[in-house]
Structure formats: C-alpha cells, structure tokens
C-alpha cells in the first residue's frame, strides 16, 4: 500500500522547527562576538563570565534548594495520591481526581495570582518559603499522574502471589509493589525537579523582593540585556534537562 509521505514530512519539519531556536542558542553561546548576527569564532568566554556572576550562583543555589525540597515533598504527596486514586473507586476519588487534574491544565498565571493573593490575605511574607509551597502545589499533580500510570500498568496478581506465599499486606507492599514502582516514582520526582527548576510565572508572583531563583534571574537578564550570558546559561540548563529526561525515559522503559 502506497503510504503518503505527508506525515513524515510534517514530522521532520516540526522537529526542525522545534530545535532550530535551541540550536541557534547553543551555537551562539560559543560565539565570541557579542552580537548574535555576527560570528566571532568559537569561544568559551561567556561560560567563563558566568562563573564570576555571583548573583547567578546565588539564584542557582536558591533554585536547587527549592527544587530538591519541593520534589521530595511532592513525591510523597503525589505517590500517596496515586495510590488512593488507583486503589479506591469512590465518589471521593472522583473529586480527588478532579482536584489533582485541574492544576495540569490551569494557566500558570491564575495559580500564581491566586497564591499571591492568598499569601497577602494571610499576611504571609513572600520569600523562598512561599516559593517552596507554590512549587509543591503544582508538582503534586505531575508526580501523581506519572505514578498512577505505572500503577495502572502494574500486575496485581504479583501482590496476590506474594500473599499466597505468606507475605502479609505490609510485607507484600514493601517487597514487591514498591521495588517495582520505584522507577515510576523516581521518574515522577525527576519531572517535579525539572519543573521546579524551570518555573517562572508562578515563582515570579510569589517571590517577593530579595528572593531570586534562576529563572527570575534569567528573566531580568532578558529584560535588561546581556544576551550572550543568557545563551551560555540556557545551554547549561538544556544539558541538565536533557540528561534528566533521558535518564527518566530509561527508567520507565526498562521494566514496562
């Protein structure tokens, strides 16, 4: 059967479309010239400059602290949520599912302003802690969805087999369910981590003066010049993200 070439062409064109700006960015980060339009030869000067930008390191530190703590907490909350959603099929879970699903489609700006007004109304001081709270909030849904997906693929006759062989419910969970679910949990955690590191809009709304994360720093750099530094920084971030995605894909495909 003669197959149409159209899907292939569209896909390839789309991939080019996807990666063109990223490629330009990466290439320009090695551009010795200050202006993207002229090529000044290969250079690492912008990366070296980055090393000296103290504010960037400060922002990075904040981002990492928040990302680690937020992903940890959202793993715990998201995994329990996934268990509840999978194990029980009641009206409560339908509502639970709605609440978990909503943040995934909700525009970030609405979540951002909601949290801002919430904190203002309560008189909570905006800072790293409020950023942490906000990040956990949107990460839970992602972790829950990933783990839920793994649970739905999970063969529960394995749990019955464990019980049949003498394991009680607790032992069966820790010796069989958790080890097999672990790749999914870690993958969910990785997703939460990258989302937290990359988040701008919600963070911007709840950050308050004085607390910067890396994306906020990048934003002000974009607004106020110095593109080459941004190129270099972005490239580094891209590498980290790429590694995280690749790693978690590996985790998820091995034990399907």
């Amino acid at each position: 059967m003669k197959r149409s070439r159209v899907p292939l062409i569209v896909t390839m064109a789309m991939l080019v479309f996807f990666y063109l700006p990223i490629m330009i960015l990466v290439i320009n980060s090695f551009n010795a010239s200050r202006f993207g339009s002229t090529w000044g030869g290969w250079s690492l000067r912008w990366y070296l400059r980055l090393l000296h930008e103290r504010e960037i390191w400060y922002a990075l530190k904040n981002s990492l602290v928040i990302a680690f703590s937020a992903s940890f907490l959202s793993i715990v909350l998201g995994t329990t949520a996934a268990f509840a959603l999978h194990r029980f099929a009641s009206r409560l879970q339908k509502a639970h599912y709605a609440v978990i699903f909503a943040p995934l489609v909700m525009p970030e700006i609405l979540m951002g302003i909601g949290l801002l007004l919430f904190f203002v109304a309560l008189g909570v001081k905006l800072g790293l802690f409020t950023i942490f709270l906000a990040h956990v909030t949107f990460c839970i849904s992602y972790v829950a969805m990933v783990v839920l997906g793994r649970l739905q693929d999970f063969d529960f006759s394995l749990i019955e087999a464990a019980q049949d062989l003498g394991a009680n419910w607790w032992t069966a969970t820790w010796r069989v369910l958790v080890p097999l679910l672990m790749p999914g949990i870690v993958a969910g955690g990785l997703l939460a981590f990258t989302l937290s590191i990359d988040d701008f809009v919600i963070t911007f709304f709840v950050a308050g003066p004085g607390s910067t994360t890396l994306p906020i720093r990048i934003y002000s750099m974009i607004k106020h010049g110095s593109p080459p530094l941004i190129n270099a920084l972005s490239t580094l971030l891209l590498v980290v993200t790429f590694a995280a995605v690749w790693f978690s894909q590996r985790l998820l495909e091995v034990r399907k």
């Binding site: 063969d155 006759s157 394995l158 019955e160 087999a161 464990a162 019980q163 049949d164 062989l165 003498g166 394991a167 009680n168 032992t171 069989v176 080890p179 097999l180 034990r255």
Partner: protein
C-alpha cells in the same frame, strides 16, 4: 474415613451482586488426590479456587482443611499455595530469588533456604537458569519456576488455575506429563481448575464438572464420560447423540423398551428404573455405534436401525459419519483398526445400518435442549447456527 475429607467445601456460596458465581457447593477432596474443577468460563471454578486460596470470602458455608476451619484466614496464613494463570513471577527477582521468596518470608535460616532452593531447582531441572530474570525464560520454564516457588513451602494443597492456558499445543502436552510426574513424585493434593476436558481427563483422579455455580457431577474421568447424569455433562465432555422417547415396555429387571419417534422399539438398560409411560432422554456416544452396508447379525440385546449417510468426515484415525434416521441426525464414529485401503469405505448418500448394544446407551437424569450447543458437532444448516432447527443431534 479421615482420609476422605482432607479438604472440604461445606455449602459454599459466593454472590457478586445478583450473579451466583458459586451456589451452595459442597464436596470434599481426598489427601494426595489430583482433583479437577472442570467447566466453561463463568461456571464458578476459579471463584472456588480463590475462596480456597483466601482471596475471596464465601457468603455462605465454610472451608475445612485437614479438619481445621480456614474460612476466615487471610491468604498468607493458609498452608495452601497457588500457581497463577499468568504465573505471577516477580520480575525484579531472579529465578532463585523467586523460589526462595516464600521461605524468606518465613524467616528461615539462610543455610536451610539455600538447601531447599537447590533441591527445587534440581526437581524442575533449571539449575543453570537460576540467576536469570523471569523475562528471559520461556513460558514452560516460567511455569516450572511457579511450581517450584509454591512447592518449596510444602503446602497441604497446591492450587493450579488453568496453568496450561497460555502455552501452545505441543508445550501444553509436555507440561501435562510433567505435572503428572510432579504430582506422583511429590504426593501433595492438587486442585486443578480448567475448561479443557482433555487436561482434566488425563490428569485427574476425580473431576467435578461445574456449570452456573453448581457441581453437575463428580466422579472419576471414566464415570463422567460413560455415565453422564445430565445433558450438560454429556455434551460438555466429548460428543454424544441425544434421543427423546417414552418407556413403552418394561423387560425384565434391568431393561426397558423405548418408543422413540421414527425408530423401532429401542432396547435400553434402565438402571434408573423409570416406569412405564414416562419420558426418557437417552445419550449414546458416537463410538458406541457400529455402521455397515449390510444388516448385521446381532444378538437380542442389540438395536439395529436403517439410515442414510448424509456426511462423511475422514480423520485418519477414524471416520465420522452423519446418518439420518427419520428426524434424527446421528453422529457415528468408526475407528479404522484394519488397513483402510483394502476395504470399500462407506460413502455419502449410501443406505446403511447402524447398531448398538442396549447397555451402551445411557439414560440422563436431567436434560436441557440448550446443552446441545456445547458440542463440537457442526450444525445441519446455517439456520441452526443461530439456535433454530429441530435440536436433535
């Protein structure tokens, strides 16, 4: 008599909403027996198995194992182990670790576990595969590992839930023999659940044939085959011909003559002592008939009727004939015990005589027309495929 009731199901029922998956079932299994629950899907056999394993709680009745009431015990406390249909081997553990799992849970000393695992690996002949993961071994091997994993715990009963269903034909035949050998060697009571009558007949000491949540008949394979109590059992196991008639005459102590539409009076063994004038349903298996061109010389215990061959299906070992006798289309099977090419085989449209011994027909206790659909005999015409037609075999 204690041996008789090693495993007892007492008035066990299980309902799922309005469905009676298991309906007041009572039976017992002897120690060391190979016992099968045989029936079509939905008959309740798997539910009974799961009740015994502890994954379902019966709504009525109780289960006794070696005198002890285990009905309320959770699965991990029962001395009963299951071979699951898809084997349920732990993918994150090696073959060795899978087998050792049950003993690890019991917190047995390490030395003992190692010894037992080696013993099991030798039994299933997989010593050189011990470090492999389940995704790297074949279906037959997975099943052996599942068996070893269960047997190592020395259960009082081993439950097998359609263990051969996932295997292809040749492998299935081999594993059938292996299961038989293992049972003989190990001596544990086996409770086997299947829809395949071939498996049940070849492996079991006794079979319980189930339908719609109840046991229709229980007995040895031969008892079930030769003396089916209901049309369901007669039709589900093998094939048969059903006849409907009235008791026209009682002959001596054990025989009756039946009036069947279109037949001369049929002599039949009447162990059920059905009296004059009552309706009777007769089951005669195809291999009990003899077919010939000439009218056979037979004793007074034989029935002989003329008919016409409507269809011939040659199957090497035997030939199956469809013979029309008045309103009945009778299935006759003849094994070729002599060199066939020396004879002149009976062909389509020929006038023939079929005969059978009065002892070879069996009177049914219960008959239901819908059971005829269970047989693997092809219908007469396209219309019959939808359940129309005269229903007679």
């Amino acid at each position: 008599m204690a041996d008789q009731e090693f495993l007892e199901f007492e008035d066990v029922s299980k309902y799922f909403g309005r469905i009676h998956a298991v309906d007041h079932v009572s039976f017992s299994v002897r120690k060391g027996e190979f016992f099968s629950l045989l029936g079509p899907s939905g008959c309740g056999k798997t539910t009974l198995l799961r009740i015994l394993a502890g994954f379902e709680r019966p709504d009525t009745g109780r289960v006794l194992l070696d005198g002890r009431d285990i009905t309320a015990l959770p699965p991990h406390q029962r001395k009963v182990n299951t071979i699951f249909q898809n084997y349920a081997l732990f993918p994150h553990l090696t073959v060795r670790e899978n087998i050792a799992f049950g003993l690890l849970i019991e917190k047995r000393p390490k030395k003992e576990i190692e010894k037992e695992v080696e013993r099991m690996l030798a039994l299933i002949q997989m010593e050189d595969q011990a470090e492999k993961y389940p995704d790297k071994i074949s279906g037959g091997q997975k099943q052996r590992v599942a068996i070893a994993r269960a047997l190592i715990k020395k259960p009082q009963v081993l439950l097998l839930d359609e263990p051969l269903a996932a295997l292809d034909l040749k492998l299935r035949q081999r594993m059938l023999m292996e299961l038989d050998l293992i049972h003989d060697e190990v001596g544990i009571t086996f409770l086997y659940v299947t829809h395949d009558q071939g498996e049940a007949m070849s492996l079991s000491d006794r079979i319980a044939v189930m339908n719609h949540g109840v046991i229709e008949q229980m007995g040895t394979p031969a008892e079930i085959y030769e003396a089916p109590r209901s049309s369901f059992v007669a039709a589900f196991i093998g094939d048969t011909n059903f006849f409907e008639g009235l008791v026209a005459e009682v002959v001596g102590d054990e025989y009756s003559r039946l009036a069947i539409d279109g037949f001369p009076p049929v002599l039949c063994f009447n162990d059920k002592h059905i009296s004059l004038g009552n309706p009777v349903y007769l089951s005669i298996r195809p291999e009990k008939f003899h077919i010939s061109r000439e009218k056979p010389e037979t004793g007074n215990k034989h029935n002989v009727v003329p008919g016409k061959v409507e269809d011939v299906i040659y199957q090497g070992l035997m030939t199956r004939y469809w013979v029309r006798v008045e309103g009945y289309r009778i299935s006759v099977v003849q094994q070729h015990s002599r060199f066939l090419l020396d004879e002149k085989p009976i062909r389509w449209d020929e006038e023939v005589w079929i005969s059978w011994h009065a002892d070879d027909g069996y009177m049914l206790e219960r008959y239901s027309e819908s059971d005829e659909k269970l047989m693997s005999l092809p219908p007469e015409n396209i219309g019959e495929m939808n359940g129309e037609g005269n229903g007679a075999a």
